[in-house]
Symmetry: C2
Subunit: 157 residues, 2 copies
């Protein structure tokens, strides 16, 4: 029960942030995606790809399955906004966004509450023994904050 | 144990966001506080007061004590950035920020883990019975996302 309650709270937070970002992106025109969040800063299309890419890797980070669209990482995670982004039109990213989040929803709903408290793939068993807060759920909380961070930028446009 | 683990995770998230924001604000010059996060958007000083005000109310929202500096709310929560802010010089807000967060740390550390799962003051017993995820801890998670949201804006400056 307790496990379930906390997982439910964390998933609610995640879903709130994803839904809010998705609504924002879905309401934009093609031209809007070329706008920057502030002069000289990231374009909206970059942040769209950035969140899609980071969330696509989440299935692997959590040890729930293969990463989705890992080819986005060099462009949207490891490189700042620039000409590489042009290989990804909005329609393609939109498709990826929906596939990534639909798949995560499936995986998250299928995961028993207690499994959220197991270690994630980005750490060793030893580290986890020393700090059991570094579990799958802590990754989800951190990614939830990460969406909020960028959403705060998107609303400035 | 489980309660404690959840609470520890949520508090780690809160502390990470507060510390990150605090370091940012502490490194600014007086003149920096007058900069806007984007053209025509909030000044840094407004966001400093905004977070201080919102967090000052948290003790009351959580039912842990009186609100701190509720007089900030009309200026920093219920009104957009504008001339009212000038009544609060940076040094005053800095003092408030530290008092608010020191007090919250005391209150949070003193709260038994299971009490985080009780309802917060902004809802009725009936509502809580219908949805036990709406507890104190969910307020903390939400405020943590709120800091991340504004921190994403602050780093644009």
């Amino acid at each position: 029960m307790d496990h379930q309650l906390f997982v439910k709270m964390a998933l609610q937070g995640w879903n709130t942030q994803v839904t809010r970002a998705e609504k924002y992106f879905n309401a934009l025109s093609e031209a809007d995606f070329q706008k920057t969040v502030a002069p000289g800063k990231n374009r909206i299309i970059y942040l769209y790809g950035h969140l899609t890419s980071y969330h696509g890797l989440l299935s692997e980070t959590l040890g729930l399955g293969q990463a989705m669209y890992p080819e986005l990482a060099p462009v949207f995670l490891r490189t700042p906004d620039g000409p590489l982004v042009n290989a990804y039109p909005v329609e393609k990213l939109r498709e990826y966004w929906h596939e990534v989040h639909d798949r995560l929803t499936e995986l998250f709903n299928a995961l028993p509450a207690e499994d959220w408290f197991k270690r994630h793939n980005a750490m060793t068993d030893e580290d986890f023994a020393n700090d059991p807060t570094r579990n799958r759920l802590s990754v989800l909380l951190s990614r939830t904050n990460h969406i909020a961070y960028h959403f705060g930028q998107l609303v400035l446009v």
